[in-house]
Amino acid sequence: MSFQPNEVQRRARLASALLFLAFVFLVGSFFRTQVLQHAQYVLQSEENRLREVPLPAPRGVIYDRKGLIIAENLPGYSVSLLAPGVDSLRAALTRLSGTISLSTEQVNQAVRRFRRAPNRPAVIFPDASFEVVSVLEEHRVEFPGLIIQSSPKRFYPDGPAMAAFIGYTGEVNENELASPAFRGYKAGQQVGKDGIEKQYESRLRGREGTRFVEVDARGRVVREAGARQDLLPEAAPPLYTNIDLDLQKYVVELFGDSLIGGVVALEPKSGEVLALHSAPTFDPNRFIGGIPADYWRALNEDPRRPLYNKAIKGTYAPGSTWKLATAVLAMQDGLLTLDDRMPVACTGGYQYGNRRFKCWDKKGHGSATLAQAIEGSCDVYFYQLGLKIGLTRLVAGGIDLGARQRTGIDLPSETRPLFPTAPATDYYNRLFGPRGWSNAVSLNLSIGQGENSQTVVNMARFYTALATNGEAAQPEIVRGGSKRIRLFELDDAQMAGVRKALAGVVQRGTAAASQIQGVMLAGKTGTAQNSQDTKRDHAWFVGFAPANDAKIVVAVMLEFGGHGTRAARIASKIIEHYLKVQTTQVLNTEGE
């Protein structure tokens, strides 16, 4: 070793300088990490330590027009597990199955839920029974990742009575999550799946809250509360509908379990939906939190198709109820008045070309005015009227009356009715080929047969125009600004005449058995042939009351219901119930 004092001092200074540089380097590095990049690392450390447990918000309560509850939330519990990985989740579930019974399907479902959102607790029981909850609470210490929390459960007090329009709620699925309409939704959340629940999802959902739990490096929950301030869930405001719960339940009772069909009851001026039903019905409560497989199978295998909404989805030939459309078109065009007769009197049939078109009444109606033809539903009269109007106008006019339009009712999946497009000749050339059809199609169209298939709700809408001033109201279940659209233009006298003729249907005509004591009921029966079963026709009745100042429009369609008179009896009972109940209530109010 070279041990010259000067050299040693030089080396000591060099070494000290190097030490100092290393110190500055380290301190500088810590400054960069701890001070300059502080925010970023704080975020990472919080992410490490906190797991978000969603606190579901109660959905908005849904009321009927009088403040009765249609949909509410029941207290429920959900059980979920926080796990750092699939393997540890499976291990925890295996241990859990020693305490409570867990099916393989439940385990797999929990794993699927976990894969979809690994940072949220994997739900094991979306709707745990009180027994399960109490057993788990007892053993809570053994399962550190277990989260038991209240989770409001949707409930429809009169479930089967609401099935046609209320919809149901369920866990948001992957397709929904991928669509832009569900931006901001997280896997595991409940969403409206159909009906009002789906249509008004954004108003009903409320705002999910968050509870923060602290976990350690292995994902074990070490602190359940106080790790960070909870974000409380916000319940959605209530939703008020136009449904008359009393009437709705009455309608459902009328249909019982034996009749198949659809009903729509509207307030004619505002379009408020008073009742909407599709029979046979089902219980939407059983759809909440996953439809049981056997129930789903039973509903799908039922030949009466309970899941097929016969009020807004099913389309049926309107039959004679459509004759009013034909009549209105002719009167509007000034072709005739209610007192005019047709050249050929009804003898039970009408010869057109080489084919005889039958009237429903083999005895014939004789020579009738338009008003009498409506009352008696004379096919022969309307065959001639259809020819007089002409096919082109018959189709174009029908389209103007809304024959090809959805009503715009605030429900998802309303079907658009079927009707020829204009111009009619092009339509029929496309349908049958240029020489495959004759003007005889006008005869069918004029009596509501042929290429015409309407939803029950659209027929109800058309009759709101007949019941008022020629303007149709857009049906609305939830209160809002309804629109009225003019369908046709008739003067007051003509409107009164039409209504008188419709009242005649119930007083003397095809629906004479459906009179209501003290109330003038107006309406039209229909008996529609259908391709599924030629022997059993669909029965229609669309009507309103009181005839001159309508408070309610009802459209009833009975699948394979036979003659329209059967539908008329049901409609008249619905109207009677509604008007009497209403009258009583008005009296009560005055008495107070």
Binding site: M1, V27, S45
Partner: protein
């Protein structure tokens, strides 16, 4: 000055070492405060016992004269090598060094890590060899003795394998050559094969390094044989590097790769580095508070009471706590260098500098790895990391330094003996 007034020759050094130890014990205590309790919760009690024991041993050591150290050098070195050799057959893994055979255990009772003794022994033997020469080493041939003295225990330690301690040996070797007066060119020539080893993974870089090396050889003009040997050594290491890489354990390979990019394997190998940085970074200016670090509390930090104790300082006491700790280390090391510089004789001077350099490598590598400035090697932080042998060896070091300081130039009148 009277003899009785100053029973401790270098109170400043001892004071810093005590402060560091207390700081360290506090951190070991905090490291045990986790939400899910582990055995670490009681580690601080043992650490206090080791601290007291360490101070007693240090006092005893400080009573032994430098001449005694000189005399003890060869036996200590021989004993170290023997124990390290023995470890290859009976060594046990434990704690954070579970995969290595670094522990000497008899009948299941762990006695300690002989590599700690070996560090001091190697410093002593190097000091003895280098101090025996009148002149600074000028050529590679002059270095065969010190190189061999380090090489034997180094190989034994690398066989355990204990990469961290191996690095410390290399650090000691170069630092002591520097203190002995070797020129920087010579140090570069000695180090050149290692550089080749690293650069060999990129042919271009290796080629460039080769040109630099040849220029250096031509300039420094060592003996012809030496020049040839150095160049050959570079060629050989460059060629065998990939082969050597394959002989590394997969975990060692991973550690080195993760050093280059921790996010390459964030869940496994990169995990420690990332979590350590998160802990330190989230500490901010003043930290989350003593014992309150969430990363530590929730077990996100690996080996938070041993190798990764410094992130606990960073997380709980923040930049302030880190700066205080690093400053204490700086003062300790500067003080040690001063002792080395003031020593009256070459041997104690070399010893003091060698011991200081061992501490320096420990601090630099340990603290550096918590910020991913250094690859992860299981190397403890002096006075902080939990561990009996290491606490003892640190305090033996203090004792030796105190003694050398006492016998130092201009302080002969303060001698206690």
């Amino acid at each position: 000055m009277t003899v009785s007034r100053s029973r401790i020759a270098d109170p400043a050094l001892v004071a810093i070492a005590v402060l560091l130890s207390l700081y360290g014990i506090a951190m070991v205590y905090s490291a045990g405060q986790t939400d899910v309790p582990t055995q670490v919760a009681h580690a601080y009690k043992q650490q206090i016992i080791w601290f007291c024991l360490g101070m007693s041993v240090a006092y005893a050591v400080s009573r032994a004269s430098v001449r005694f150290l000189d005399w003890a050098t060869t036996p200590a070195y021989a004993l170290s090598c023997f124990l390290l050799f023995l470890l290859l057959f009976i060594g046990a893994g434990a704690g954070t060094a579970a995969s290595t055979k670094s522990w000497l255990a008899i009948g299941g009772v762990r006695l300690g890590q002989p590599s700690e003794l070996a560090k001091i022994a190697v410093v002593l033997i190097l000091a003895k060899i280098l101090a025996a020469r009148r002149q600074a080493p000028k050529s590679l041939i002059d270095l065969w003795q010190p190189a061999l003295a380090v090489f034997v225990p180094w190989v034994l330690i690398m066989r355990q394998p204990d990469l961290g301690t191996g690095i410390v040996f290399v650090g000691i070797f170069f630092a002591m050559l520097f203190w002995a007066g070797a020129s920087w060119q010579l140090l570069v020539l000695v180090a050149s094969p290692v550089v080749s080893l690293i650069l060999a993974f990129s042919t271009g870089l290796w080629g460039a390094w080769f040109l630099v090396l040849i220029a250096l050889v031509l300039w420094y003009r060592p003996y012809l044989v030496e020049g040839v040997v150095v160049v050959l050594a570079n060629v050989v290491t460059g060629v065998v590097a990939p082969i050597l890489w394959d002989t590394l354990n997969p975990y060692q390979q991973k550690r080195l790769l993760v050093f280059l990019d921790p996010s390459a394997d964030p869940r496994a190998s990169g995990y420690h580095v990332i979590q350590s940085q998160v802990a330190i970074g989230s500490g901010g200016w003043i930290g989350k508070g003593f014992t309150l670090g969430s990363q530590k509390r929730l077990a996100f930090l690996p080996a938070q009471h041993t190798d990764f104790i410094f992130p606990v300082v960073g997380e709980e006491l923040g930049f302030l706590g880190v700066t205080v700790a690093l400053t204490l280390f700086l003062v300790l090391l500067l003080r040690s260098v001063r002792i080395a510089a003031r020593s009256a004789d070459p041997f104690p001077s070399m010893v003091a500098f060698g011991l200081a350099s061992a501490w320096f490598v420990h601090v630099l590598v340990n603290v550096g790895m918590t910020l991913n400035l250094m690859p992860i090697t299981g190397i403890p932080l002096p006075f902080f990391s939990y561990g009996g042998s290491f606490m003892l060896s640190c305090w033996i070091t203090v004792g030796i330094l105190v003694r050398i300081s006492g016998e130092g130039r201009g302080k002969a009148d303060m001698l206690v003996i």
